[in-house]
Symmetry: C2
Subunit: 574 residues, 2 copies
């Protein structure tokens, strides 16, 4: 396999052998290792010293179920720290099958020209781009699919990226031509700083992925696929209702942040719930069950149509629906779907943007519950107006613009859809992960609320530091394998599923790893990321939730009560 | 003397005895000690845990020349660190003569009402304010002067403060009814967060300041006044040309940051110079020489009229003229004077705002040199539009809004009017002072360029760390005495002037301090401030200049070349 180094300063491409230290790495482990080694921690995230790294996971490109996640890494313009954001869609498997371990984009072009990259069996070409500048992601993907074929992978930025906004994401075409996003941390702004509008990937006649022990690999695939299908979360809840199954569950648990985190329950919850959404989709002849990448056996995605049966959006996730719903106090699923559509198209993180809108509501810019006003703000982002630039730079930025103190962020990244006072394990993750507030970095909701992998009270402190630690370690490993995070439900409950992942890795690479090695990989990723952040100027003071979480949140009337010392225990790996 | 504690949560006022540890402190030493002791370093600067502290200097209220500076302290919404900003005008002496050591404003009111404070011989009253909300500083001062008499001191915020902008300043009426500002670090937003529009001070029948040894004090006053009048900077340059005497000097030295810090010389410099300004003022029957507070023997302020002889602005400073001039590439002094007038009126820091405009120019919002466009941006701030909120939150914020990487700030505070590559001593101060980029925190320009207190090359590293250290220590002491910083020119060159300050302090307080004690006071202030910042999450990584100062600046083509280790030597007091 090769690492491709794209130098945008002199517009050159080099294919390099993979250094020994990186050969056992993929996905997040690799992007974080490269960023930590090659990027000056104190550099400007949009300057010439930052690098943007794409890496398929270790299992990507194989028949391993749900292994099509690609990691994108850089210093984040949102948090100022190291960032890994991963995404489904078609790119990861194609890159892996082309024998590409990683693509490192570095330098900055002189002048004002934009470029695109085309990746195929012959390598990578840098080409000047003019046609698709200023276009949204849907048009970019449609145009390129027509030009290069439906099967061509596309990685692109929308207008939010082109404006250099700190919430801009990187979007990836899914197998059906819809959009998946490496959503968090503003990596779209980094791609824009390199002046790359999009990357196309054609794996035709690529070398494919070699498997050291094909029989053993197949056996692992069978066991793993079975385990995913048998687990109630990945076999029933997610396929039927999508991730939005969580609205009713979190509302019931009192952990659904509502009206800018004032309450843990939303009276309009049922109108935006997964169950309501399922019925709506069926009625309008959408698709309740859809994959984000080939080889997914969970199919938590869906296609949501409007009242006339026309496509609105796909991959309509719980966190998005919570964001433009409960936290903004909006209970109209059609309006929320439009918001998701706009965000996908302009290429901006739905979580960050929804919370920014809620903070703007807090600042008096519009009323809580004003759905049309919210959509209007998204159109401001699309147009790049000053107001759009405020909202599009995220919740902390919006809070500062409007003098708001009730701003739910950690490391300047918006807190997602689980109230840390009512789901304390996830609060520990928000506070301590090197990524800034990120539920996917250690999804303690699984054990606190869904009772997967044990049962630790969401309302008490006890056990939650250890829970977050274990999950952060496991997640770093899963993100490195290129596996969808949802496989964790099964791996937590079923030792056979965990072993199947170890077996697939061993069979592919001819190794003899055991469970300890996997955990060691996860720990080492976290430590690499922590060290980068420390060198960038982060301290323990950055591992805290905002002041206002001292307030009680109904219905349980719990507060955020971890001390700084308690939180630092997350990184006491022993 | 008393400390007044204004609790805005329950609208109570308490007069407290001064604790022993604070009895020897005044001005910056006192505001920083109080903030460090009473404010949680990690708190939100606009939240209930921050406190706003006003303290006259140790010599304020006496006949000591140039002793009318008042310090204002808080955690800064701009830098996130501790902030002391000091200001002339009429407030400091009146507070001192009322026997007030400090006013501490804490808590936040419930509801949405605004208040004012009235300070007189009977204490402090909190009163509801409605009439002057939304008004600019000139109207506030005019209205209150009519209502309460011309001699009443006024401390106020303008619209920028009311919007909670991070560059909002706190303005103080000068003896002539014009405006002086505690400009830097957004303390106007903190005053607004406490919902206080203004504070009026009437010292009629106050107890006055007691002097332990009046004869010795008078002797010190005489020596000090003589020394100030004899020094060429404070006796000739500043009285005639104001601080704007520096435009030609810095331009000649190649250290006048031009076009967002691309060059060290500005071809339009003579059109905005002190010499040109002096001629213009004379021609238009303004006043070239004016005081900012009673007892000033330097008189560096001035009254600038328009072509028709109508008042435009007073206290028209070098840094303001540089900011709206050279750094924005504008060479029209009348336009710059209008900008100063608007900033004074809406209550916003001219340095931060001018650099924010330059950064917006860098981002393509308007052309460099577009004076009318610049004035238009200031009016956006006045109106509180989204664009105004962007610019009004400062240079770092503006840079992020427009995806600009060339952003001259340290700790998110804009770098002022001396290029750190061509005046290296001041660069050391920008990088290391706990205040964020602040020329007044250790004005190495004196020795680098004006050759006061020695001669250390501005273009070489050698000696500049030591220079900045010594000046930062001395400045912290001067700021604590309530003395105008310009007395330092004389104190650096003339041991008698230094001794006169020591003598006046000893005579007033009945003490036996020597020069070492003064330096020890300065060191202790700096350490207190550093500790606060550390506890707020600052590290050595924050003591750096931005990446782009690696570029050479013409005409000397020098770069910023201090290592982090070298800079940290500033705080190696031994």
């Amino acid at each position: 396999m090769k690492i491709y180094r794209i130098n945008m300063s002199d517009l050159t491409v080099k294919a390099e052998d993979v250094p020994g230290e990186w050969q056992g790495l993929g996905g997040r482990a690799l992007t974080s290792a490269i960023v930590a080694k090659e990027v000056e921690p104190a550099c400007h995230p949009l300057g010439k010293k930052n690098k943007l790294v794409f890496a398929p996971g270790l299992l990507s490109g194989t028949a391993a179920p749900n292994s099509g996640r690609m990691s994108v890494g850089a210093k984040s313009p949102l948090t100022g720290g190291i960032k890994e954001s991963n995404v489904g869609g078609t790119a990861s498997q194609k890159l892996a099958r082309l024998g590409i371990k990683a693509i490192i984009i570095e330098g900055l072009p002189d002048g004002t020209k934009y470029y695109n990259l085309h990746v195929d069996k012959n390598g990578i070409k840098i080409q000047e781009e003019t046609e698709l500048l200023g276009k949204g992601n849907y048009e970019v993907i449609d145009t390129l699919s027509k030009k290069l074929g439906d099967k061509t992978g596309v990685i692109t930025i929308g207008q939010a990226g082109e404006y250099g906004l700190s919430s801009a994401n990187i979007s990836v075409k899914n197998p059906h031509g819809n959009i998946r996003s490496a959503g968090r941390g503003g990596l779209g702004a980094v791609m824009n700083s390199k002046r790359i509008k999009y990357i196309t990937v054609d794996d035709t006649d690529g070398p494919g992925v070699s498997i050291a022990d094909p029989e053993k690999f197949k056996q692992g695939v069978r066991v793993f696929a079975d385990a995913l299908k048998k687990h109630p979360v990945t076999g029933e809840g997610l396929p039927k209702f999508g991730t939005n199954v969580l609205i009713n569950i979190l509302n019931e648990a009192g952990g659904l942040p509502t009206r800018n985190f004032r309450m843990g329950r939303f009276e309009g919850a049922h109108k935006i719930s997964g169950e309501f959404m399922y019925d709506t989709i069926i009625e309008r002849k959408g698709k309740p069950t859809h994959t984000c990448h080939a080889g997914c056996v969970i199919s938590c995605s869906q296609v949501y149509n409007d009242k006339d049966g026309n496509y609105v959006t796909a991959g309509f996730e719980y966190e998005t629906i919570w964001g433009f719903g409960a936290v903004c106090y909006i209970d109209d699923l059609d309006i929320i779907a439009q918001a998701d559509r706009i965000c996908d198209d302009i290429g901006i993180d739905t979580i960050e943007t929804a919370v920014a809108v809620a903070v703007a509501m807090e600042g008096g810019l519009l009323e809580f519950g004003d759905g049309q006003g919210m959509l209007g703000l998204l159109r401001e982002i699309e147009k790049g107006t000053p107001l759009g630039r405020i909202i599009g730079n995220g919740a902390s930025f919006t809070g500062k613009a409007f003098g708001v103190t009730r701003v739910p962020t950690v490391k300047d990244q918006a807190i997602p859809a689980y109230d840390p006072r009512a789901v304390k394990g996830i609060g520990v993750t928000y506070a301590t992960t090197p990524m800034g507030a990120d539920h996917t970095a250690g999804y303690s909701v699984a054990t606190n609320i869904l009772k997967v992998g044990g049962d630790i009270s969401p309302l008490e402190k006890g056990g939650n530091v250890e829970l977050s630690r274990d999950l952060q370690v496991a997640t770093a490993a899963i993100d490195s394998a290129g596996l969808c995070l949802f496989v964790a439900f099964s791996m937590l409950d079923n030792p056979e599923a965990f072993q199947a992942v170890v077996d697939m890795l061993n069979a592919q690479y001819g190794l003899n790893l055991d469970a300890d090695d996997i955990n060691e990989l996860g720990r080492s990723v976290l430590m690499t990321e922590r060290e980068f952040n420390k060198a960038a100027g982060f301290t323990e003071k950055d591992d805290q939730l905002p002041e206002f979480f001292e307030e009680e949140v109904p219905p349980h009337n719990t507060t955020w009560d971890f001390t700084g010392e308690e939180l630092q225990e997350v990184f006491n790996f022993k």
